[in-house]
Amino acid sequence: MRQAECLPRALHHFSWAEIAGLADLLRDRLAGARIAGVVGIARSGLVPAVMLSHMLDVRPFAVLDIVRTSSDAVEAEKSRPASRGDLGLENLRGRRVLLIDDIVGQGLTLEAARRILIAADIDPVTAVLVVNRANLAGREACDIVDHWACEVHGWVVFPWEGKDPGDA
């Protein structure tokens, strides 16, 4: 089928201008969400986390370090998400926070992070810049994440990865 031939090759490069735009769209959505802290999922989730922390004017900030991919290569193998620790979570206890990552597909990383926050008595509102619909495995995006600014079918290359579009 043509669709199947075409789509797995899809590789979506995002520019910094686009990332700023996506963060803007999320800010719009979160403006009335009474967010009292921001938690970024390291590494790449820290970029939108810092942006949204400023845009929403919410200073309390924490980091969750969760690894999923085995390398930074395009189409890199993925394993079960593993937590490697956190920074500053204890300061957010009892608060409603924004839990943010750069991208979600199957949602295992986000789900693992969400469980950690709930166990720490933190109420997370989840958000990502991009949903990769190719990895949803039949689920709806809204079952995985509360807010997202963009959806694609295919692998995403963010500007902070330092890969030139011509390298694809």
Partner: protein
Amino acid sequence: MREAMRAAKLFRVERAIDPDLGVTRFLSGWQRRTGEEPCFLFTDVAGSRLPLLMNLPTRSALLCEMGLATEAGAIPQLARRLSTPASLVRGETLATRELASLGDLPLLRHQPGDAGKYLTAFVGALACRDTGSTNLGFYRGLVAGEREIILFMDPRTDAHRIVTAGLAETGRIPITLFNGGPLSIYLAAAAKLPPALDSFEAAARLAGRPLALAGGDCPPAPAEAEIVIEGHVTRETRAEGPFGEFKGYYCTPTVSPVIVVDRIAVRDDAYCLGLFCGKRSGLTLMALQNEILLFDHLRRSGFDIETARYPLDAFGEYVAVIESEAPSRAMIAAALDFDPRAKLVVATRPGVDMLKEAIVFPAEVERRPYMRRGQAEGHRLGVLCDRRNDYRWVEL
């Protein structure tokens, strides 16, 4: 369209947005801030339950829908396809949920001076009684009531001829206006095809696969169309316009036929595709079909050309760049003859900057009067950039 959506980056706008200039304001603001025109999915357009897609038909999305993964060789391949018969098959329409009013659709007032909300991304299908084929085209349609549209058809088009001849015989001409479906249909609708070639077949040829159509008494629509409006063109005429045209001015009002809408049906999961005049997505459709038709014509005329381009900076239709290892005056003359809308035709060697070529190397010019609505209005130019001398380039 669904495949193009899958190939796109869809930026979701969930805030409530006003179809009366609100979408325009949002898109213009975004473009000013970022210099980019991503594809937006507006999920909450006031007054409608249908999400609205803007800026979808980019070049890569169009090519992907037609199974072409890269730009390389795309125009020659599409031109070849256009000559290869393809089949139309009967399908079941997915647009089965009826809507009461045009007001239920996320239709936009695009520019402050527009006369009202306009249909811009609906393809009009008319049956040609002379040839038995279906004629497809883009027409601007002013929403004049819950079930009334004032449809402007350029008097130079086949559609205008079909409607005029039909209304002279009967008081009503069935018409179908649809939104969505394979984007090759949008290309075919934008193209000036030979009248005997059924536009749906042209779309199937461009896509390189059979096209499923559905319909009853009215001309058919693609089975997978998102929105299907069936109605009839009447003898009643009313004023429509002004409308902000893609070239950056308001067209003058016209007196055009009224379409009475008999049925509006949408898919259960329908999206509405919008096209903004003058923005990249609309111009891309125009450019791509121009490139296919000019390439096909010049190749058939015996010219050895590599590709033809219609830059979007010139609205995808007023400047044609022909790339060939053997650019010639005859090639330029053939292109000027074929496309009377092209104001500037440049023939140059492949992969070079045409402006630099014309400046640095000897250039020859052919000048002809530019005719607009039967009146001479300035001139058209053909420029031959012929690098006769072999200059040695020394910079790394």
